[in-house]
Every structure is written in C-alpha cells, then in structure tokens.
C-alpha cells in the first residue's frame, strides 16, 4: 500500500470537528468517491472527531490518500493523548457510553468504513484508524 499524499489537522474544538467534516468531504470528492460513500466516511469521521475532542481531550487527524494495486482509498487516523479506552470491545458495542452521548459513535463509525481499528490503552491515549476504499 502506498500513500499518495497526506495532511494533518488539529482536532481540538467543536469548530475543528466541522473543519474535519469539510476536509474529509473535499478529499473524498477528489478521490471521486460516490455521494453515499462520501457521506459515510464524512459521518464516520465526524463521530470519531467528536470522541477525540470530548473523550480524548483533543488530538489530531492524519488524512492519507492511499492505493494498492487495484484501488484507491482514504485513510483517516485520529490520535489523542487522552485517558484511553479501558475496554475497546465494550466501547464498540452500540449503546455503550461513559459520556452523555448515544453510544453509537465507535460502533457506528466502524460500520461506515471498510477497515477500522482502535488502538488504545488506559493512560496511553487512543488511535482510531478508518479506511474506506473507493
């Protein structure tokens, strides 16, 4: 897999969440994703960006346009230095939340992507990778 280009954005405030949505939309358009696929990856990014701000205390997003031999994709990696997630499997379950949300963010975002990975340990922050192929 090769990275064609990349960009890093801060994810620290509510305004940044809006900017993340707009930037991910622009990248998905440039990669010629269909409208439904665009909407899915932007929505997934919005969910994870909010987690980064609310639970992770802020962090950053790295966007990468990638390709393998046959296709192109958009990979988003959110990283924060927050308290981390004690039980990732539990956090992925619909309806589970330690905050005031609906508990749909992580599990929902996973369903909206082709590949999804959460790397987190208590005290060591959280890294969430989302990938959607075109």
């Amino acid at each position: 897999m090769a990275t064609l280009r990349s960009e890093t954005l801060p994810v620290r405030s509510e305004r940044d969440i809006v900017y993340v949505r707009q930037t991910v939309r622009r990248w998905a358009e440039e990669l010629r994703f269909g409208l439904v696929d665009q909407t899915k990856i932007v929505t997934a990014a919005s969910e994870i960006a909010r987690n980064t701000v609310v639970y992770g205390g802020g962090g950053e997003l790295r966007l990468e346009a990638i390709n393998d031999d046959v296709r192109k994709g958009l990979r988003l990696t959110f990283e924060d230095k927050g308290p981390g997630i004690a039980d990732v499997d539990l956090a992925l379950r619909d309806g589970f939340t330690t905050g005031a949300g609906l508990g749909l963010g992580l599990g929902g975002a996973k369903r909206l992507c082709n590949e999804f990975n959460v790397d987190s340990r208590p005290g060591n922050g959280t890294r969430v990778m989302l990938l959607r192929w075109k």
């Binding site: 969440i17 809006v18 439904v36 909407t39 919005s46 369903r111 909206l112």
Partner: protein, 140 residues
C-alpha cells in the same frame, strides 16, 4: 451569538438548517425552539434539513430531542427533505430516528402538520366552510 433563525407561520414554526452546524449551535437551536414553542403556543414544528449533507449521531440526537420536547409541549415535529445518502448513512450508523416524523419535502411536511391539527381550532373556523361553499359552486 450565531443562531439558526426560527420563523413563525400561523400555528407552526419553521426552521431551515442551511449551515454545517457545530455542536453548540445545534444545542442552541434545540433550546431556542423549545422556548419558542412555549412562548408562541405553536402546534407544529417543521425542520427542513435538505441542505444538510451530514447528519451524525449528535445532530440525529438533536432532532430526536426536539421532537420529544415539542411533543411534551403539545406540538408535532416533522423533519423534511433528508437527502437519500444521509438516510442511508444514518440507518447504517444505527440511528433510525424512532419517534421522529419525516416527510420527503416541505409541502408534504406541511400537509402532515395540517392534518395533525385536524379540523379543530384555527383551521376549523374558516377553511372547511369555504371549501363547502366552493364545492357548492361546482355542483351548481
């Protein structure tokens, strides 16, 4: 402070969301709408989201909250104009907005609100009578 405008039209309140809302703006709209229902005694709320390209769980929850709060205040809410890609994504996300009435467009949404209001109150006084008269004219 930034706000989404709320228009009053007879017994209804109309809101058109045309910007990509940050979370606090969505919460402000929720509060403003609830306050306005209470202060005007509105019987219906129509929320046009046809310009929204993304509805994530936060915005989805706001729509469900508005609908529930309005219901407690004796007003019906209809969310209209959801883009197909947004609908597909919302359901996959796990949010099917139970308890939120929807309509394809503003016109059908207004129809729903008028029907919910029924032949009672404001509508009952004038319009049915006029309709009867018109029907009478045609018959002649």
């Amino acid at each position: 402070m930034e706000r989404i405008p709320i228009l009053r039209m007879g017994p209804f309140l109309l809101v058109t969301i045309q910007v990509d809302m940050h979370d606090r703006l969505a919460l402000t709209l929720q509060d403003d709408l609830t306050a306005k229902i209470a202060s005007t005694g509105a019987k219906g709320v129509l929320i046009d989201i046809s310009s929204l390209e993304v509805v994530d769980s936060f915005i989805g929850r706001m729509l469900a909250n508005i609908s529930a709060m309005a219901s407690v205040l004796d007003a019906k809410t209809v969310v209209v104009g959801m883009q197909p890609a947004v609908a597909i994504t919302l359901v996959e996300l796990g949010l099917s907005l139970p308890g939120v009435r929807t309509a394809l467009n503003v016109e059908r949404g207004m129809d729903q609100l008028h029907r919910a209001l029924g032949g009672t109150e404001k509508r009952g006084v004038n319009e049915p009578a006029r309709q009867d008269a018109e029907r009478g004219d045609i018959a002649q």
